[in-house]
């Protein structure tokens, strides 16, 4: 027989290390067990070589064989260990047999897993009954029932709920339970008494009255309630169990005409749990069957059981009954049962082969071996290079994904049920005209009174929706009631709210956003700030705080973004600082980094730039997560562009083209804040802005063609030019200077092209960019004819150097090269170069007069980076002057300085310096626009953010902003001095600048 124990030990080697405890028991007492059974003639009544059919009866025989209590307990424990090993080995052998070649793997799994659960319950129930009996001895016994709670499959520890009748003899029961627990720890599964602990009992047991008193005060947390709902009597009085079921469990089932407070609290708890599990960070290289699916299924089934009053606590049976009762979701419930069965089997086998642990590391070779063992047991085989475990994991993920989708689909019924039956439903329902208003004392306080009962609950979506409902009056009432409180009281109440919301950051953030965004409502801002202050005081920045904040962000990015943008700079900095601590979970760490990046960007960005974030992310909140991956944003933008022509309507094409522009605009802004080199920024901005215009023109033209039922070829007739900053290929332009020229005098073509440009204009405006048509102001139409422009420039009308400058700097976007050549010949050469002296005099005069005017204006600390002495306008004017002087066709911009350096080698160092200044000033302007405001007049007091972004650090008695301001002044002085000298030299070289007689008056400055 001992040989057989050795075989059992060997056979159990394939089980996890938890077998060692049982092997230890057999080693220690196996010999004695055989001896005693043989001595007492009971050997034949006990199965030691195979699983017992009736373990309880055999346990009685074992007890009979023992001589004293200690020996009886040791022998009983040893018998339990033998049966435990037998049971597990046999069930796995059977599964292997049934699963090999089985068509219905789920069916095989179901039989296996339910069989294991039943066998285990029978074994542990029989063992406990006898140990408890021995532990009581002759002491008087109270009425009691020991129940198994939770899953019946978990063999590692047994969750027990013990109910007694409250009589004096419960002292003896507690003592007996203590002894039983000790024995179970040695030989069987570790007992857990969470339920008693959680109800606040002084011992291992709780009476029904104690349960009742506890539940009247406050709802139990949903996990404990789920345990209560799953109780199954193992040992003791069935009558007491039935009373418990009626008086305690019954509280959680829905009563159509009764009090449903506990029911509601429990459902809210479960929905909060479901939301949390759906959002939980998942490590890509790990799986966790319990969190992946099993808890979700447990929660949804328990919730449905309560709504539909299904008393059956076995989960499979409950799902079957629900399928019958809830016809609407019959298919969903059936498929969920399959997913549940598969994942539960997977988990059970993994734990049987490895250890009683939940998380599985997929890249760990040891774990991979265990998974292979699970896979082979479930009937998978290696196929070529595809390992059985890989097939298993594929199926696992399919079941998890499908199961989660199904759970998601089952939630709305519960939400609706809560909405209808809630103690708050009277608050949320719009009052009927003839209905008396629901008496509400002070809403914020009233709510707190109610939620005191619902402590720990996370699901408040129904109330949040009612508060957000613009047609409802709940928000108004909440705010006005809050304002009605005196300040210290209000502060106290807001602290309570922060404390309440600390359990559910999502709810609190959403509530704060509901307040903060309704700035027109009286008190909204005040309440937001007060609540946010209290919230920030509550959040300590612990790893758990960080993980939860990051999790809310990843799943509700736009809400979090809204919340962050509602904060003032100081609060945002405080929030940001709370994210700096340690995080345990690598995935949560990544999510935290994304949130930190967003905070950094928001702390550096102007309202102008935030508007561009709003525009993009309101429709695509997920982009907020990619702010650190600009290449990804670029790929998405290019994808949008590529998809454009597949769209069925011009309207949709324009919409998506706008989305492309907005996303690229945002991306370049982010790149600027992250320090992308200016030349690259300008090039990338120009590329997408040009694309946008080109394609928009084509779409607008196609739309006009479709409407008019004709198609005019305009390639050689119509030219669209950009002027100003866009023409200079500068990033971050918030307006478009457009010049549209038509090389035709036909009124029909003029009307046709004007319609195209009208549409183009409308679409550009929708992006928040104002198109400017300098020539259109003169000629009364978006489209200007070549002939009109020629006449105007040749002196028949009043010409301004501004018109000339625009044309000189213009860059063609739409139109043929023939047309471009025509433009150069007739307009640039024929009208401007021919009159270059006039133009040059005007430019020089303009520089002088602007400097004198700006000198008068600039008395304060602020400075205009564009118009000041040595500013960007001076540089632009200088470039135009040289362009005319040397008849250079290259567009003015960063590269123009290189052209000049090449053309005038004697001054190349000065042009190099001017180029540097040009880049510095443009960079400063860009960064100021994105981080402070989209203005040209910069305030030294706000130079801190741009300075930080440009890499300045405080030191030498100066702040970073002051250093930046100092450098700005240096550059402007250098530009002014260099330009003056270079222009003077150039003009001398040209031989004077007097304009021809009579022409000067024609210049309209």
């Amino acid at each position: 027989m001992l040989r057989y124990f050795r075989r059992l030990e060997e056979r159990s080697q394939e089980l996890g290390n938890h077998r060692r405890k049982h092997v230890h028991a057999v080693d220690k007492h196996g010999r004695l067990l055989i001896d005693r059974l043989e001595e007492s003639g009971l050997f034949d009544r006990v199965h030691l070589r195979q699983p017992a059919q009736d373990p309880s009866a055999e346990m009685d025989a074992v007890l009979e064989a023992g001589r004293d209590i200690e020996e009886k307990l040791a022998l009983l424990g040893t018998y339990y260990s033998i049966q435990f090993l037998q049971m597990n080995i046999r069930s796995i052998d059977l599964l292997r047999l049934d699963a090999s070649g089985a068509r219905d793997r789920t069916g095989v799994c179901r039989d296996f897993i339910r069989g294991v659960g039943d066998d285990f319950l029978r074994l542990i129930g029989g063992y406990m009954t006898r140990v408890l009996d021995l532990s009581f001895g002759d002491e008087p016994r109270p009425g009691f029932v020991v129940c198994s709670v939770g899953t019946r499959l978990h063999q590692d520890d047994v969750d027990l709920g013990i109910i007694d009748d409250g009589s004096k003899a419960r002292v003896n029961l507690n003592r007996a339970i203590a002894k039983t627990a000790r024995e179970m720890m040695r030989y069987a599964s570790v007992p857990d008494f969470y339920l008693s602990e959680h109800v606040g009992a002084e011992g291992y047991t709780v009476s029904i009255d104690e349960y009742r008193r506890r539940l009247d005060k406050k709802i139990l947390d949903f996990v404990s309630v789920t345990e209560i709902l799953s109780v199954y009597p193992l040992v003791g009085s069935q009558a007491l169990f039935d009373r418990f079921r009626r008086r305690i469990i019954g509280r959680y089932y829905y009563r159509p005409r009764g009090e449903n407070r506990e029911h509601e609290g429990y459902l809210r708890g479960l929905l909060g749990e479901i939301e949390s599990l759906m959002l939980w960070p998942h490590e890509p290289e790990r799986i966790h069957p319990k969190e992946d699916l099993l808890r979700l299924v447990g929660a949804i089934v328990s919730a449905y059981r309560c709504v539909y009053r299904i008393e059956e606590s076995d989960r499979w049976e409950a799902m079957r009954l629900l399928g019958k009762k809830v016809r609407l979701y019959r298919e969903e419930l059936a498929s969920l049962e399959k997913n549940y069965t598969y994942v539960e089997t997977f988990r059970h086998l993994y734990q049987a082969f490895s250890a009683q642990k939940e998380e599985i590391d997929l890249v760990d070779p040891v774990e991979q071996n265990t998974l292979q063992q699970v896979a082979l047991t479930m009937g998978y085989e290696d196929v070529g290079v595809i390992r059985a475990r890989e097939q298993l994991l594929v199926r696992y993920f399919q079941h998890v994904r499908h199961g989660r989708q199904t759970v998601r689909a089952l939630v709305p019924l519960l939400s609706e049920h809560i909405r209808k039956t809630s103690v708050f439903s009277a608050w949320m329902r719009p009052e009927a005209p003839d209905e008396a208003p629901v008496p509400k004392k002070n809403l914020p306080i009233d709510f707190l009174r109610h939620v005191r009962y619902f402590e720990g609950i996370k699901y408040w979506n129904d109330l949040l929706e009612a508060i957000e409902n613009e047609r409802g009056d709940l928000l108004d009432q909440f705010l006005s009631d809050m304002l009605a409180l005196d300040e210290p009281h209000r502060e106290q109440i807001l602290k309570y709210y922060a404390h309440w919301g600390y359990q559910t950051f999502y709810t609190l953030e959403r509530l704060m956003v509901a307040f903060g965004r309704n700035t027109r409502k009286r008190g909204a801002r005040e309440v937001f700030e007060g609540l946010n202050r209290a919230f920030l005081d509550t959040v300590r920045g612990t790893p758990d705080d960080i993980r939860r904040l990051a999790t809310v962000f990843v799943h509700y990015p736009f809400m979090t973004y809204r919340y962050l943008t509602l904060m003032d700079d100081r609060s945002l900095a405080e929030f940001h600082s709370k994210l700096g601590g340690e995080v345990w979970d690598a995935q949560a760490g990544r999510w935290r980094d994304w949130l930190v990046r967003l905070c950094e960007i928001l702390r550096r960005s102007s309202r102008f730039f935030r508007r561009s974030i709003d525009r993009v992310c309101e429709n695509h909140p997920e982009y907020l997560l990619y702010f650190g991956d600009l290449k990804k944003l670029d790929r998405i933008a290019k994808g949008i562009l590529a998809d454009l022509l597949r769209l069925p309507s011009h309207e949709l094409q324009k919409k998506e083209l706008g989305a492309y522009y907005d996303l690229q605009f945002l991306r370049i802004g982010l790149a600027t804040l992250q320090g992308m080199p200016l030349s690259q920024l300008d090039a990338e901005f120009t590329e997408f802005a040009d694309y946008f215009l080109e394609i928009l023109f084509d779409v607008c033209k196609a739309e006009v063609d479709a409407e008019q039922g004709r198609r005019l070829l305009t390639h050689d007739l119509l030219a669209l030019f950009v002027a100003g900053g866009h023409a200079r290929e500068r990033a971050h332009q918030d307006d478009y200077d457009l010049v549209v020229l038509l090389n035709s005098d036909s009124d029909d073509v003029h009307e046709y092209t004007n319609q195209i440009i009208t549409r183009l204009n409308r679409e550009i405006s929708r992006r928040g960019i104002m198109p400017q048509y300098h020539l259109a102001d003169r000629f009364g139409s978006f489209v200007t004819r070549f002939s009109e422009l020629e006449n105007f420039l040749s002196g028949e009308g009043k010409t301004s150097y501004v018109d000339m400058s625009q044309l000189l700097g213009a860059r063609q976007i739409v139109g043929s090269s023939r047309l471009e050549a025509e433009f150069n010949r007739r307009i640039i050469e024929g009208c401007i170069y021919e009159n270059k002296e006039i133009y040059m005099v005007s430019v020089i005069g303009e520089i002088e007069s602007r400097r004198s005017f700006m000198g008068e204006q600039c008395k304060g600390p602020e400075f205009d980076i564009k118009e000041c002495r040595g500013g960007l306008r001076d540089l632009e004017m200088g470039m135009l002057l040289w362009k005319v002087m040397y008849r250079i066709r290259d567009p003015i911009g960063g590269r123009f300085w290189d052209v000049l350096a090449e053309r005038c080698p004697g001054q190349r160092w000065e042009f190099k310096e001017l180029k540097e200044s040009y880049q510095f000033l443009n960079r400063l302007r860009d960064v100021y626009r994105l981080s402070v405001a989209p203005v040209n007049v910069l305030n030294p007091a706000f130079m801190g953010r741009p300075a930080e972004l440009l890499g300045y650090r405080s030191g030498d008695g100066l702040s970073a902003g002051e250093k930046l301001f100092r450098d700005h002044s240096k550059h402007c002085n250098r530009v002014a001095e260099s330009l003056d000298r270079l222009i003077r030299d150039a003009v001398k070289f040209e031989g004077g600048t007097s304009p021809p007689e009579g022409r000067a008056e024609a210049l309209d400055r």
């Binding site: 290390n17 520890d157 203590a178 570790v190 749990e273 490895s354 040891v366 612990t542 993980r547 345990w584």
Partner: protein, 191 residues
């Protein structure tokens, strides 16, 4: 005279504290015949975030498995330390992770600071065995459960294939404890 020892292991979810508690309880109960109970954080509080595991060892029956006057508190996070230190007996022992717990509370109890998590990461190469390192330190400092019993219990609880690395972690904990005890003995006023 009867003996009773209450310990609480506290920190974050994912640090393996529940497993550590089970190992200590089983080492005492199965291999030394000491009465032991173990309980753990439960309900919503156990959903990530804070985690605690309690062990009570006694030579008498244990009426209720809830630790209320701690002889030993292990804190692997600042939050856990701040939260539970008030339950420590004046004669108790506070063991903290020296990297995670920067503000160590003052009190009449004895305090040990050890880089438990870093030790697991840097010496063993796996942060996940920090719980076993902690068990090693506790075994040596508390001197309630024999090392061999703890080794056996570790082998019973850890996944197959990870026995060696877990035993190494245990040895690391024992040697860390030796250093801590030596440092403590070298302090002025130490006996």
């Amino acid at each position: 005279m009867s003996f009773r020892c209450e310990m609480r292991l506290s920190g974050e979810g994912g640090q393996g504290l529940v497993l550590a508690g089970k190992i200590l309880a089983e080492a005492a109960a199965i291999y030394q015949g000491i009465n032991a109970t173990q309980s753990q954080s439960y309900g919503p509080e156990a959903r990530g975030g804070a985690s605690r595991s309690e062990i009570i060892l006694s030579d008498e029956d244990i009426d209720f498995p809830k630790a209320v006057r701690l002889d030993l508190l292990l804190a692997l996070t600042q939050e856990a330390c701040d939260r539970y230190v008030c339950d420590l007996k004046p004669t108790g022992v506070l063991l903290v992770d020296s990297d995670a717990v920067k503000r160590v509370p003052e009190g009449p109890f004895k305090t040990y600071r050890a880089p438990v998590i870093r030790g697991a990461r840097e010496t063993i190469g796996r942060e996940i065995v920090a719980n076993i390192v902690a068990i090693g330190i506790i075994t040596r400092i508390a001197e309630v459960i024999e090392e061999e019993s703890v080794r056996e219990a570790i082998l019973t609880r850890v996944p197959k294939g990870t026995e060696e690395v877990n035993l190494k972690a245990f040895e690391l904990g024992l040697s860390m404890a030796d250093r801590l005890i030596a440092e403590e003995a070298g302090k002025p006023g130490a006996n």
